[in-house]
């Protein structure tokens, strides 16, 4: 049993925290004065264009850059042969066999997915770099291709990485409780032969890239980029480049969306670093949209095969077992972490105590996978929602009642799941009631009839989802016991400058989540001053020494880790300020209060020092003190209290907080064409204490939009030959304004007992949208054949197929009982 630590939540003056303080980021952004990395220019910089493979799997016979080098305006090139000499392969998270993958900044010897970079050309202008890339002649020997993860695991499948002996990167059995007994005692067993979560991602509007400068005198690289996880980036880059991490200065300012998709740009950044050094000039690289679609951060595609759910007569779901096959694409950049991260929510929102998942990950000739909003939990939560929905439908239970009955109940919080994760707080049944009310659940049948009179099939669906946040990186050891990663951290500094200005630095890399604004709110409440007096520096810079190994913005944690660090640093500063004031006034520290921009004696407010005076003393006027005046400068590392999980039992607390979202939607299906519309939509979220409600709501809306896209339109579809059929926004349709349904949102607040502010990380709960759209479609289809939704991605043609051949999908479900 994991020890559960409950942290006292500081009674913050709810002044600015809790208010929808308008964002300070906006002023520059609405004027086009944001600074995204591609906006930055350096004298003499060279533009980089990658030469990419047109083959999904091939041996590289030769690369001839001579014609490219002859083109006037071309500064130089880089090929895999050079990379293999100048760098070591990137560190692999996986144990063997996955650990044997050799991954470099450019393809070395082989290409393994269409669009893989094989060479880089640098030239005076973007157009010339593009022209020169066409002149690079690469000879390939095409190899057999495998695009289906299930086939990739079969004997005789083409092997991507010979060093691994096969395409399997990780396999493990995750089992808790007594699964066999639960099935023996079940009144019903619902079997689902196949469920499939499709491959897509969040396509942030700004592409990846960097402007990389090399200082020959100091050996220092400065990387102005939009990589959203600098901690991870330098851990990957530095050993590969055989330099210390401090030689890689990472600078970000404004980032045009991340959603996890800007975590694994380290290979391209290494190529830029090598070229900056080789050519002695700054290197500018901006990814093209097609490059991104072909090569960057696809979300995990996952099969759930031979699923069985044990159910009691009263509808209690007691156990499930399944075989999960995860498709990692051609390289393991952040994988196989997806193989453990799902277990943060192993039972989903439900009270299953007996669970068995055989999880195997395979590599295929497709773009490498890396975190995508909801990373690995979304896939698993979709699975738990699908089975709840299918169980309800096939056994004749009301899907609302089945959920309420099986949800983890509020009285059980904090709730320890079968694998030792602790759901901190939340009232799921109440949230479900709230969303049902928002969407007008009691009018559904009436609306169904009305839609039928217009020839449309109406469907209603619920999608419940958890957003586990603040990772314990010790979970990586459940995949690879030799890894030396555990816990988590984030850093902040807060100081008073010489004229009393409050200056904050963060370790994070925000991409629109409003860190500057929310950090200022927290600081202002602790220092009891106006929020506009708090200046938060923009973005991330490793020169600030305001970061640690896990710094970045990913995985739903800023409200806990980032703001936890801000709170700690500000409380430290507040104590310093009071101490200094007490030194000056020669009174006890307890007598001092901070108010209205002063440190003053509470009983005698005329004895007051303005912040400016406090800042000036240690900086410029520190003589005459018998002991050192505090420096008015604080640095705090927030560390959540985690243990290393039990590797044998795969048991332990893997995430600190569990935000929750429940989505509901109404669809209308045209039975002739399979075309469907979302005609109504509601979402309820609970992320504990909300620092800035409008920002939270914005995240819920954005996640909902991503879910709608993934459910209806977005898929990275490959053909059998390994060609990506949706390589740009023309075929990969994302939702536009006219595609959006009406939306109602509501929030409940169940503060987390485990975090400094009662907040929970949030932003990734959008899987709820995929879940509820699947459920709504299945509900609509009950009136026409009863097709079962077994895919996460349901474009019109799939709905049409389910209408036309319901037996196909129905045949995947079998119910047995006593």
């Amino acid at each position: 049993m994991t020890a559960v630590e409950t942290t006292e939540t500081t009674t913050l003056q709810r002044g600015f925290v809790g208010q929808s303080v308008p964002r300070r980021e906006d002023r520059r952004l609405v004027q086009g004065e944001g600074q995204f990395f591609d906006d930055v220019k350096r004298h003499g910089m060279g533009y980089l264009h990658f030469v990419r493979s047109p083959y999904p799997h091939a041996r590289i016979e030769s690369i001839d850059v001579s014609a490219a080098l002859e083109l006037p305006g071309v500064y130089g090139t880089l090929t895999g042969d050079e990379v293999a000499i100048l760098t070591d392969p990137f560190f692999q998270i996986a144990a063997d066999p996955g650990g044997q993958v050799r991954d470099y900044a450019l393809a070395v010897g082989k290409v393994r997915y269409i669009g893989e970079a094989v060479a880089a050309v640098v030239a005076e202008t973007r157009e010339l770099a593009r022209d020169a890339a066409e002149l690079v002649v690469v000879e390939y020997e095409p190899l057999e291709v495998v695009v289906d993860a299930r086939k990739a695991l079969e004997e005789g499948a083409p092997v991507l990485h010979e060093e691994c002996g096969g395409n399997m990167s990780y396999t493990g059995v995750w089992e808790w409780g007594d699964v066999d007994a639960a099935f023996a005692e079940a009144d019903h067993v619902v079997k689902i032969s196949e469920l499939h979560f499709d491959r897509f991602n969040s396509t942030p509007l700004e592409l990846d890239g960097g402007l990389v400068e090399y200082n020959r005198g100091t050996g220092q690289w400065t990387i102005t980029t939009n990589n959203q996880f600098p901690g991870f980036a330098v851990i990957m880059m530095a050993p590969a480049m055989r330099v210390g991490t401090d030689k890689l200065r990472i600078v970000t300012q404004d980032i045009g969306g991340g959603f996890g998709n800007k975590i694994t740009s380290h290979p391209q950044l290494v190529a830029c670093c090598l070229l900056a050094r080789k050519l002695n000039r700054p290197i500018q690289w901006t990814e093209w949209r097609t490059d991104f679609h072909q090569s960057m951060s696809h979300g995990n595609e996952r099969w759930f095969l031979e699923t069985e759910v044990a159910v009691k007569a009263d509808g209690t779901m007691t156990a499930f077992r399944t075989k999960a096959i995860d498709d990692a694409g051609a390289y393991l950049r952040y994988e196989p972490l997806g193989g453990v991260i799902w277990s943060q929510v192993a039972p989903g929102m439900y009270g299953w105590r007996n669970i068995r998942v055989e999880f195997t990950q395979a590599m295929t000739n497709k773009a490498p996978v890396s975190p995508n909003r909801g990373y690995s939990r979304m896939q698993h939560l979709w699975f738990t929602e699908r089975i709840a929905d299918i169980v309800a439908q096939e056994l004749g239970f009301d899907r609302v009642e089945l959920r309420k009955k099986n949800y983890v109940q509020p009285g059980q919080m904090p709730y320890e799941t079968p694998n030792g994760c602790v759901y901190d707080s939340g009232d799921y049944p109440k949230a479900l009631e709230t969303v049902l009310e928002l969407i007008g659940y009691d009018t559904i049948e009436e609306r169904r009839e009305e839609a039928a009179s217009r020839g449309k099939l109406l469907g209603f669906g619920i999608g419940s989802t958890l957003d586990s946040g603040t990772n314990n990186f010790g979970q990586s050891q459940l995949l690879n016991p030799d890894l030396q990663f555990s816990g988590n951290n984030e850093v902040a500094t807060v100081k008073l400058d010489i004229f009393g200005e409050i200056v904050v630095t963060l370790g994070t890399t925000p991409q629109g989540q409003g860190h500057e604004t929310t950090a200022a709110q927290v600081v202002a409440d602790i220092l009891n001053c106006d929020v506009d007096l708090v200046h938060v520096r923009v973005g991330h810079d490793s020169y600030w020494n305001s970061h640690a190994g896990f710094s970045g913005t990913y995985a739903s944690q800023f409200a806990v880790t980032g703001l936890g660090a801000v709170k700690g640093a500000t409380e430290d500063l507040a104590n310093q300020m009071k101490t200094l004031a007490s030194m000056v006034f020669q009174c006890p520290v307890e007598a001092i209060e901070l108010a209205d921009g002063f440190a003053r004696i509470a009983d005698n407010p005329d004895a007051a020092l303005p912040f400016m005076a406090l800042g000036a003393i240690p900086n410029a006027n520190n003589a005459g003190f018998p002991s050192d005046p505090p420096p008015m400068n604080a640095r705090f590392v927030y560390r959540p209290a985690f243990q290393v999980p039990d590797k044998e039992k795969k048991f332990g607390n893997l995430t600190l907080t569990y935000a929750m979202q429940i989505h509901a939607c109404v669809v209308e299906v045209d039975p002739e064409t399979g075309v469907y519309e979302l005609v109504d939509y509601a979402a309820v979220d609970d992320c504990g204490t909300r620092v800035n409600p409008k920002i939270v709501e914005g995240q819920v809306m954005g996640a909902t939009a991503h879910a709608i896209g993934a459910a209806m339109f977005e898929s990275f579809a490959y053909d059998e030959e390994g060609n990506l059929l949706t390589p740009n926004f023309y075929d990969y349709h994302v939702p536009h304004t006219l595609d959006m349904p009406p939306l109602k949102t509501a929030a409940t607040e169940s503060p987390s007992p485990f975090t400094p502010l009662g907040t929970k990380g949030m932003g990734e709960g959008g899987g709820g949208g995929i879940h509820c759209i699947c459920a709504a479609l299945q509900d609509a289809l009950r009136a026409s054949g009863g097709g079962i939704v077994t895919e996460s991605h349901n474009p019109y043609h799939r709905v049409w197929e389910m209408l036309r051949e319901p037996e196909r999908s129905r045949g995947k479900v079998q119910v047995t009982g006593r």
């Binding site: 308008p22 942030p204 809306m701």
Partner: protein, 161 residues
């Protein structure tokens, strides 16, 4: 007297009220001309198929995607970019975006503002539907569009009946 095709020429454009003359290759896209040659980096690039609208500017008064126009095509034209919207004060539209939390990462925002300001110039009180149609060519991946539509409708004080 026939025009001889050229591979580069001097273009004369008025950008945000300022007259500019610059030599450009015929193949240069207007968006790169604005960003790289004129250092007006508020206009953004988000795709390579003319689909996302992040590059939207006003060309002779109407919103166009500057990635689908060559700089040489703009010779003699008047262009307004996002940098040309605000004077000393933010415009009501920019303020409305701020008040309605109509931006998160801010990358699509310049394009949204250009499309919305063009709409408001010819239709001062647009309905929600009219706003959606006007913004249909601008992709956002952060907000889901709801707050953006609200922000524009609010500028028009709730729209036509």
């Amino acid at each position: 007297m026939s025009t001889t095709p050229i591979t580069s020429q001097v273009v004369t454009v008025t950008v945000n009220g300022e007259r500019i003359e610059k030599d450009v290759p015929a193949r240069r896209l207007l968006v790169h001309f604005l960003r790289d040659d004129l250092d007006l980096t508020g206009t953004h690039v988000g795709c390579d198929t003319g689909s996302c609208g992040a590059c939207t500017v006003h060309l002779d008064g109407v919103p166009v995607k500057s990635c689908a126009v060559l700089a040489v095509q703009a010779d003699g034209a008047t262009i307004t970019t996002v940098e040309g919207l605000a004077g000393d004060e933010l415009t009501p539209l920019q303020r409305s975006f701020h008040e309605h939390h109509a931006l998160q990462c801010g990358y699509c925002t310049p394009g949204m503002l250009m499309s919305a300001s063009a709409l408001l110039a010819e239709n001062p009180s647009p309905s929600e539907e009219e706003v959606k149609v006007a913004l249909q060519g601008n992709i956002c991946r952060c907000t889901g569009y709801w707050n953006i539509v609200d922000a524009v409708v609010a500028v028009g004080k709730g729209g036509a009946a």
